[in-house]
């Protein structure tokens, strides 16, 4: 009789564990929800005057800034997945897991699924709060669906990078050290102003080469433009590419952490 659970069952078990351990730690739930909303509120009020700059693509800075909140949520998923996996290394959980028939794939997919669920949940909160604050989604209901598919993929991309760092370093502290780097990437992008309105040449150049700009612009296009196929295609492509890189690194690092 085969008593080893199937791969989907293993994934479900790990995803449930990942989800529950996140939900049980307010420190992993509160900042990803509160911090982006707080910055959204500050920026919406503080930079509302920016909509008066000739060529600004929206009448409302809140609409424009929604993408910033979603990107922060995605970056927090990097922190959550990386920290959880690093703790699993530190606590010896992965070594104990190596003595069970649990497949490595199940561990990684389950962990990422749990983090992704929390990320999408925080996205729902951003959208609801945004709608209450008067945000409009120009692309309508279909745009909201695409928004969550794109946000999920971007969340997965950052979560897989977090998993890679967490598994490679085996240190939650190292993951937290990486976290500000991603925030720097977000701030050095076109998140606060459209690239064509950035006056400083060097900043515009950095923002143009920064892939985060295109992720922001993909999400933003759904809020402030009618369908922009090019912005969406580029955002999906970058998110998919980062996911592949992150997953490849995480799988490789997992092989060294879970040795049978």
């Amino acid at each position: 009789m085969n008593t080893v659970p199937s791969l989907p069952a293993q994934v479900a078990q790990i995803a449930r564990r990942s989800l529950l351990r996140t939900l049980r730690q307010p420190a992993q739930i509160v900042p990803p929800v509160i911090f982006p909303l707080f910055l959204l509120a500050i920026n919406a009020s503080g930079l509302d005057a920016a909509t008066m700059i000739p060529g600004f693509p929206s009448d409302s800075y809140v609409d424009f800034a929604m993408a910033f909140a979603f990107m922060q949520g995605a970056i927090f998923s990097m922190m959550n997945s990386g920290t959880d996996l690093a703790r699993d290394v530190e606590s010896g959980f992965l070594k104990r897991l190596a003595m069970t028939p649990m497949r490595r794939t199940a561990l990684l997919v389950g962990q990422l699924a749990g983090v992704l669920a929390v990320t999408l949940l925080s996205g729902v909160v951003y959208l609801v709060v945004g709608l209450i604050a008067g945000v409009t989604v120009e692309t309508g209901v279909a745009g909201v669906v695409v928004l969550f598919v794109l946000f999920g993929l971007i969340g997965l991309a950052f979560a897989s990078l977090g998993a890679f760092v967490g598994l490679r370093s085996g240190s939650a502290e190292a993951v937290q050290g990486f976290f500000p780097l991603f925030f720097v990437a977000l701030f050095l992008s076109s998140a606060s102003l459209p690239r064509e309105l950035i006056e400083q040449d060097w900043f515009r150049t950095v923002a143009t080469y920064n892939p985060v700009s295109y992720l922001v612009e993909g999400i933003r296009s759904l809020f402030i433009f009618d369908w922009d196929g090019q912005a969406l295609a580029v955002a999906f492509a970058i998110a998919a590419a980062v996911t592949c890189v992150g997953l490849a690194g995480a799988v490789r690092a997992l092989r060294t952490q879970v040795v049978r």
């Binding site: 500050i42 919406a44 009020s45 509302d48 606060s192 900043f203």
Partner: protein, 257 residues
């Protein structure tokens, strides 16, 4: 008096030595203000073209003042983290046993915060000048601006020290950091207060840090400022948080460090 100065000097030397020799302490203190300055002054410079935005020294100087005060305040918060760590490691307890007047310990930490602020401000100013920041205020104006930075650094240190003395654990870090973060960002960060909108404008109007930021911006550009209001609020904040820190110190003494 001599022993007071000895204790203050010893606390200062130990903390500054740790600060300067440990990259984990030193680098974030330098990098984060530079990063904020780069992101705000570089990325948002076209905000200075918004109708109604009239700041003679330009947007780089406008943002420099905010980052200057922010870095000074956060230097104080990080000093509070150091106090909490000293309690966790047991060092503060030994220090309190050794010091005849424990106020000297607090004075040492205040000196640490000022030194940290001076280092960060120097680096930030050099970078801002290289980036082309215009300074249209005179030397006395600039001294007044640095005085505001010192006041905010001391205020934040006294606040964080009060929390650290009461909790005596580094786990209280968010309780030191978040209020300072909130009060700073609920001020006119990106545009003058008259160009703010919504609830943040209402909060910024009554935020005690707003007059300090506005005064610093006025001083760097050589504009007239409401000095009585800015320095009066600064002095008031110092008195209130000095009382908070000293009463916290007494609690730590009562708890046996």
């Amino acid at each position: 008096m001599r022993r007071f100065a000895d204790v203050t000097g010893a606390v200062w030397w130990r903390s500054i030595h740790n600060f300067l020799t440990n990259p984990a302490f030193f680098l974030p203190s330098i990098i984060f203000p530079l990063f904020f300055f780069t992101a705000f002054a570089g990325g948002l410079s076209s905000v200075g073209d918004v109708p109604g935005f009239d700041f003679p020294a330009g947007y780089t100087a406008f943002q420099f003042c905010f980052v200057l005060l922010q870095a000074s305040a956060f230097g104080g918060v990080f000093t509070g983290f150091g106090i909490a760590s000293d309690f966790e490691s047991g060092f503060a307890r030994r220090m309190m046993l050794a010091a005849p007047n424990r106020l000297a310990i607090l004075a040492g930490y205040l000196l640490v915060a000022l030194t940290r602020a001076a280092i960060v401000i120097t680096v930030l100013t050099v970078v801002a000048l290289i980036a082309g920041m215009e300074v249209t205020g005179g030397p006395l104006d600039l001294f007044g601006m640095l005085l505001l930075a010192a006041i905010l650094s001391l205020t934040a240190t006294l606040f964080a020290a009060g929390v650290a003395f009461r909790t005596r654990t580094i786990q209280a870090g968010p309780a030191m950091q978040m209020p300072v973060f909130l009060v700073l960002f609920l001020a006119p960060v990106y545009v003058p207060v008259e160009l703010l909108s919504g609830w943040v404008e209402a909060v910024a109007q009554v935020n005690p840090v707003t007059p300090l930021i506005e005064a610093a911006r006025g001083l760097i550009s050589g504009d007239a400022i409401d000095g009585l209001l800015a320095y009066g609020i600064g002095a008031g904040l110092l008195v209130v948080f000095a009382a908070w820190a000293v009463s916290g110190l007494r609690r730590a003494e009562a708890a046996g460090g």
